[in-house]
Symmetry: C2
């Protein structure tokens, strides 16, 4: 888990850019799972999945606990929320901008008529 919110966004968005990692997240949203369980559906090696999981953990999107030799992964909803929050700020800003432009155009039309 990194510190700066800037690097947090870097690594979290990068983590979501891979379809394997998005599938892992989709699976983990339905409950915790181990590396072996997560790797099972994929046509790649367990080591590759382990690397993907390290990327997700590094980005703060998932956390891991210990249960004997197993290390289940858990999805962190707060980390996901931080991403939607960043996106929504800018989406709402541009939508506001659009509405403002519409108002200007309407005003111009009224002046014309």
């Amino acid at each position: 888990m990194k510190q700066g919110s800037e690097e947090q966004l870097n690594s979290a968005f990068a983590a979501l850019a891979d379809p394997v990692r998005r599938a892992l997240i989709a699976r983990l949203s339905r409950g915790p799972a181990t590396v072996n369980e997560l790797a099972e559906p994929f046509p790649i090696t367990k080591q590759a999945v382990s690397k993907h999981i390290q990327v997700l953990e590094q980005s703060g999107l998932i956390t891991r606990t210990r249960e004997g030799q197993r290390r289940p992964c858990h999805l962190d909803p707060a980390a996901l929320e931080a991403l939607t929050s960043w996106i929504d700020i800018h989406r709402l800003t541009v939508e506001r901008q659009f509405r403002r432009l519409d108002t200007v155009l309407d005003t111009l039309k009224e002046k014309e008529s």
Copy 2:
């Protein structure tokens, strides 16, 4: 702009993983701008910014129009919405999962006492 929603997510999330591109989006949320205008605040070459803009355009996050020799960029709120939508589905799923677990634990506590 790509077709498959899977590749759409790949490229859009990858686009957001770069701090320069996020800054471009933040700027564009306040209104359209040209490559030169967008490049001005950055310590990198105009060509590098042009590449970043191509990445954003390819991902569908921005569109471009023609005005003589200038080609202004516009942020597309719908593309942003598609991303928050994907994230929120899984965030809500895992939060629901948490609440379900809480209920189970509460039930167990009641049985104990």
